[in-house]
Amino acid sequence: MAEYVTVKEASALKSGERIVVEIKGRYIAIFQVGGTFYAIEDLCSHDDGPVAEGELTGTIIECPRHGAQFDIRTGESLTKVLAPRPVPHFDVRLLDGEVQVLI
């Protein structure tokens, strides 16, 4: 059953920063870009590697292992030859200054 889970550490993120947390046994990467928060699973759909360790340009994250690129707003793959599938993404809301992820 999906529910909103508060991630206290995420509130302190500055634009362009990220944090990876474990919720319900899954690693979730939370990003702040221009005041908006985004969340994707930290699992590259190409080879299951930790995609969130890569370089972030705008809202595009590039996996450090093989260069697969994903849009963190939707999880969509921008390099479909390398990674045909999207990475799971999660809704994020701000409630009383706290960042909450729907998972």
């Binding site: 529910e3 206290k8 550490e9 474990e22 919720i23 899954r26 690693y27 299951d48 590697g49």
Partner: protein, 448 residues
């Protein structure tokens, strides 16, 4: 809901005092205490595996909560009655060659048929074997098959193994009735079980090893080791079935050695645990030796299973044959990495490996990585890997014969596993495993 930041270096919460306390509690001889402490030193010098290491790059175990998965299990008040009775049923009709059962790292049952004992066969728990057959254990414990320096979890096991079985079949003795061993857990913590089987020249044995646990919330870890030593012209049939509850993280190092003209038939079944990382290797040391490894796994929900296999041909005129078949559903993930290695001088080698995966859901994922490393000539090695969904045509054929779709799919999945199931020599165990597969499939049928 607990939120935890990612910690890439989290390790079991154990100390050298845990090793000393365990060895003292078992009242072990000094050679064993020293071996444990040497393994502990090795353990502390070895870093925890990370995703940067090739054999671990797909196996992220760091979601484990070591706070609950570290305390060493010393046994509990639970006894043999905790184990589901159908697990302890005789393997063939009413006949039971021998049965050892461990609950939470403590031996609760230890029995061997008198006729087998009279043959000079040793089938007992490892602590008793250390006391009564010290020299024999010392010669075979982590000296021939798996060694403590093979990895972080191997050295951890060597330092802190909690329980185990020791099986020894003397020269030319044939054990007609199968032996049976069950490792069962009821609590969280860390359990470290060890299996040693030594067959002298011309000996024959069949043994079933089972791993099970009661449902639980807190994480449990199993750090195990299996050593199979098959002498010249000996014949071992070893069946190991894992069906841990979903709070278990299973880390295992297993290896068999097969001497000249020896035969090994090794069957691996993996159904349970949240996380499984199993290294299973065969060293074919003598000419004319034959070894077969058959694997069956079925992962569902968020299970992760990783089998790393190795078939090393160290002598000429040897045969190895590996077949792993797996099904996946929900968001399960599996990895199979296999290697056949033919060493210099291993001419006339026959090496086969195949991995077949059946995806029953959109979100499941199977990685299959076969490999060959050939350092000699004049041999035949093959490898194959497939990942596929159920084909429409056979489903349509069965539907055309009047079967509903879900029933057709069920039959096809059972048929997919059947070649491996038939290699399990116990009808009761086959039935139990079949029922479990059907249980996992029932959910697929509901979705269809």
């Amino acid at each position: 809901m607990t939120v935890r930041t990612r910690n890439k270096t989290n390790a079991p919460l154990l100390t050298r005092q845990d090793v000393e306390a365990l060895s003292a509690a078992k009242n072990e001889p000094s050679w064993l205490t020293e071996a444990r402490l040497a393994a502990w030193d090795l353990y502390t010098m070895t870093p925890m595996p990370t995703l940067q290491i090739e054999e671990w790059r797909r196996s992220d175990y760091t979601t484990i909560r070591w706070e609950s998965a570290s305390p060493i299990q010393h046994g509990s008040s639970a006894g043999k009655e905790a184990i589901p009775p159908e697990t302890l049923a005789p393997l063939i009709g009413e006949a039971q060659g021998g049965l050892i059962a461990a609950v939470d790292g403590r031996i609760v049952h230890n029995e061997l048929d008198e006729s087998i004992r009279k043959q000079g066969v040793i089938f007992t728990d490892l602590d008793t074997a250390v006391r009564e057959h010290g020299e024999l254990v010392r010669r075979n414990l982590m000296t021939k098959a798996v060694k403590p320096d093979e990895g972080k979890f191997a050295s951890l096991h060597a330092a802190l193994w909690t329980h185990g079985i020791f099986v020894y079949v003397p020269r030319n003795k044939v054990v007609e009735l199968p032996l049976h061993s069950v490792f069962y857990n009821t609590r969280s913590g860390m359990s470290l079980g060890h299996v040693v089987i030594v067959l002298e020249e011309g000996a024959q044995l069949t043994l079933l090893q089972e791993y099970l646990s009661a449902e639980g919330q807190d994480h449990m870890s199993y750090v195990g080791m299996t050593e199979l030593v098959v002498g010249a012209n000996a014949n071992l049939r070893y069946v190991a079935l894992q069906d841990w509850a979903r709070n278990v993280y299973d880390f295992r190092h297993e290896r068999a050695r097969v001497a000249q003209d020896g035969q090994l038939d090794w069957i691996i079944g993996t159904m349970g645990a949240h996380f499984t990382k199993q290294f299973a290797e065969i060293e074919i040391d003598g000419s004319g030796a034959w070894a077969r490894m058959s694997g069956l796994f079925f992962a569902d929900a968020d299970q992760f299973m990783d089998h790393d296999t190795q078939q090393n041909h160290n002598a000429p005129h040897t045969t190895s044959d590996l077949l792993f078949k797996g099904a996946l559903k929900d968001s399960a993930r599996t990895v199979w990495q296999g290697m056949i290695k033919a060493m210099p001088g291993a001419q006339k080698t026959n090496g086969f490996q195949a991995n077949r995966n059946l995806l029953l859901s959109r979100d499941s994922r199977a990685d299959s990585i076969p490999g060959l490393e050939i350092l000699t000539d004049d041999l035949r090695c093959t490898h194959a890997a497939t990942v596929s969904r159920l084909e429409d045509e056979p489903v349509f054929y069965l539907e055309s014969r009047g079967l509903p779709k879900s029933e057709s799919e069920r039959l096809l999945v059972l048929g997919f596993f059947d070649p491996i199931m038939q290699r399990i020599p116990f009808a009761e165990v086959r039935d139990r495993l079949g029922a479990h597969i059907e249980q996992k499939l029932a959910h697929v049928a509901e979705l269809a």
